[in-house]
């Protein structure tokens, strides 16, 4: 029999503060007493009245201090060149590309949640899609900085853009680096459009709820005069669905293209056909972990347990577990193919990865990314705020370490032992990495303070569906 998502019987059991389905999973999609007016008030309270001022200010201060450090690190880099980093030949990519791949992976959860889960009619995504899309935008901004900073002369980055220049030069369209430019900039633009189209009706709600003249004017400008007319909604929904459809292959393509930066090269450890799916799975894995890391404290502090329910957290944890296994499969296949290919360089790369000078990093990666996430098999962990947060943190660190292993360990020993070298990050490497986290968190803090962080109109749709008995 077909059951409509969310229409399962909800059981109350002692010892659990949320209702469960007959199979024991958290059942609630949205709190029981929610009404159109209540969700509107609750979600617009943050941009209009700024509750929890102290918690926000404390977090913002730390994030902003880290952003200032990023400014110093980038300023010093522009003054001195990338020699301040620990990069060398052969490890020319170092932290910059590690960070680039890590950040862009984090960016994947947003579009996955807002586009793919929309098309799959996963209603639990409704209350987190706004937040994760914003996270995507900020993560892609952080990602985009690194290839530019790594150029050495970032001010002439536009050489990679095709335009009829006086030198009669054109970018090499057969190169994955040029594909990367198109993939990342398209991803950013489409995510921004998708996010903005979703946010317009909610800005209209903030405009109509605002008491002060300035807020009415500023949010009114953002809302573009939205009045919720049937014609507006018809075109809006059409555009929104189309963008979801367009963003779906885009999510899968972006990290595939990023992975081709590696896979097209002939280096052992990079030159592998498993890279595109393996990178995409890893991207969604780290993206979901980052969403969990951000949403759990926000849910707690702002009291959004009625909207971002335990069901949402549990489902996200399940997706994390599944994508984690896809990534683990990637690790197994990498090792297997290295052995099965019979290629001595590939075999050496794999032995060096596990037992070479960077072997300890590899084992940290295995524990953070493969072993610890197995805790997510436990329903107690999946529905427990702090435990889930810690597992997600492990995945975030683990995925960064994975990018480090792929970039640095593969590069440091290639074919000729005469060209081997070790990479040791300098303080500036760490300052740039932490600084980019500061940029990300600063933008995130500004977002939760000034923009409705949960989609109000889509939450109302959930309430309407419940009234009709469809939820």
């Amino acid at each position: 029999m077909e059951t409509i998502q969310g229409s399962e019987p909800q059981l109350r059991v002692p010892g659990k503060d949320y209702p469960i389905t007959p199979l024991g999973y958290p059942a609630e999609m949205i709190g029981p007493r929610e009404s159109y007016d209540r969700v509107s008030n609750q979600i617009t309270a943050e941009p209009l009245h700024h509750p929890h001022q102290k918690a926000w200010l404390a977090g913002f201060t730390i994030a902003f201090a880290m952003l200032m450090m990023f400014g110093v690190a980038v300023g010093y880099l522009l003054f001195n060149g990338p020699g301040i980093w620990g990069i060398n030949i052969p490890v020319a990519w170092g932290f910059a590309i590690t960070n680039f791949v890590w950040w862009i992976g984090i960016g994947h959860a947003g579009t996955f949640i807002s586009a793919i889960l929309l098309l799959l009619m996963q209603k639990w995504r409704t209350t987190i899609n706004r937040f994760t899309e914003a996270m995507t935008l900020f993560a892609v901004m952080c990602a985009g900085m690194f290839p530019l900073l790594h150029l050495g002369r970032p001010w002439i980055f536009y050489f990679i853009v095709p335009y009829p220049d006086t030198m009669a030069l054109w970018p090499q369209f057969r190169s994955p680096l040029v594909w990367d430019l198109f993939a990342v900039s398209t991803y950013f633009t489409v995510s921004l459009i998708f996010w903005y189209i979703g946010v317009v009706p909610d800005l209209a709600t903030v405009r109509d709820k605002a008491r002060s003249k300035w807020k009415r004017i500023l949010y009114g400008l953002g809302a573009l005069g939205w009045r919720g007319s049937a014609r507006h909604w018809m075109h809006h929904q059409s555009a929104y669905l189309l963008l979801a459809g367009l963003a779906t292959p885009l999510v899968l393509s972006v990290h595939s293209v990023v992975s081709l930066d590696f896979a097209v090269a002939q280096l052992p450890g990079w030159h592998s056909t498993i890279f595109p799916p393996y990178f995409v799975a890893g991207a969604i894995y780290s993206g979901f972990a980052m969403v969990l890391n951000l949403i759990i404290p926000i849910r707690r502090i702002y009291g959004f347990q009625n909207l971002i329910t335990t069901r949402t957290l549990n489902n996200m944890a399940c997706v994390t577990l599944v994508t984690g296994w896809m990534v683990a499969y990637g690790y197994i296949m990498e090792a297997f193919m290295a052995w099965y290919s019979g290629d001595p360089f590939d075999r050496y790369m794999m032995r060096d990865r596990a037992f070479g000078p960077y072997g300890w990093v590899f084992w940290i990666l295995m524990s953070l990314n493969v072993i610890i996430p197995q805790l997510l098999w436990s329903r107690w962990i999946r529905t427990h705020d702090i435990a889930l947060w810690l597992v997600a943190l492990s995945v975030n660190f683990g995925m960064w370490v994975e990018r480090f292993v792929i970039v640095v360990q593969s590069l440091h020993r290639d074919f000729l032992p005469s060209s081997w070298a070790m990479f040791v990050p300098t303080a500036w490497d760490w300052a740039t990495l932490l600084g980019s986290v500061g940029l990300f968190l600063t933008l995130q803090f500004l977002f939760i303070r000034y923009i409705p962080m949960i989609s109000i109109s889509e939450s109302r749709e959930l309430i309407a569906q419940r009234k009709e008995g469809r939820l």
Binding site: D37, S40, G225, A230
Partner: protein
């Protein structure tokens, strides 16, 4: 000659509009509490022959546009055209620059090495299609449009919060202030308001 006399003699048409000219009735608006009532009201208004009308809701209501007699959105058409322009234009750019303007032998690959041109073609297809979806949505909705007569109704602010509205405009050939008011009353709304265009 006395200038004062002169001004008195000439009869200029008044440039100050009268109260009636300043405030034209835009339409009548009924307010409902539930979205099903609004869909029902829209259906009945359409059946009664009203065409120049609009409904307002704080979230997309299924079947509302159809109830008002809207044919469906043309955003998909513009998106398709945009996507085709992006894909063809993208491939043309790659072919023209790599095979005509700047032919360059890379590992013996042909100048028109189409498999290598797929990623950029795909990205530009998606990019231009998305931009077309966004821009055509704005143009078809006539946004941005900061002012609209419905905003003059104080209760209308709840259209973006928790209430549902149906507005029959004076533009409609069937509009008659008294008859339309009585028609709206039969739909059992919470309130009926006059919408004035100022």
């Amino acid at each position: 000659m006395n200038t004062e006399e002169h001004t008195v003699l000439v009869d200029f048409p008044s440039e100050v509009p009268t109260a009636a000219e300043e405030r034209a009735l835009y339409g009548l608006m009924a307010e409902f509490e539930e979205h099903e009532q609004l869909v029902e009201a829209a259906k009945r208004a359409h059946a009664a022959g009203y065409r120049e009308m609009d409904a307002f809701s704080p979230f997309p209501v299924e079947g509302l546009a159809e109830a008002l007699g809207h044919e469906g959105s043309s955003v998909p058409l513009f998106t398709l055209l945009g996507g085709m322009a992006g894909g063809l234009g993208g491939y043309f750019m790659e072919w023209y620059s790599m095979a005509r303007l700047y032919p360059f032998n890379v590992g013996g690959r042909p100048h028109n090495s189409w498999p290598n041109f797929i990623p950029v073609t795909f990205e530009l297809t998606v990019l231009i299609a998305s931009l077309s979806a966004f821009v055509s949505m704005l143009i078809l909705n006539r946004l941005p449009q900061p002012h609209h007569p419905v905003f003059n109704v104080p209760e209308f602010r709840r259209a973006s919060i928790d209430r549902f509205f149906l507005c029959i405009e004076t533009e409609d050939p069937q509009f008659n202030q008294a008859a339309t008011w009585r028609f709206l009353e039969r739909l059992k709304p919470v309130r009926i308001s006059e919408v004035w265009d100022e």
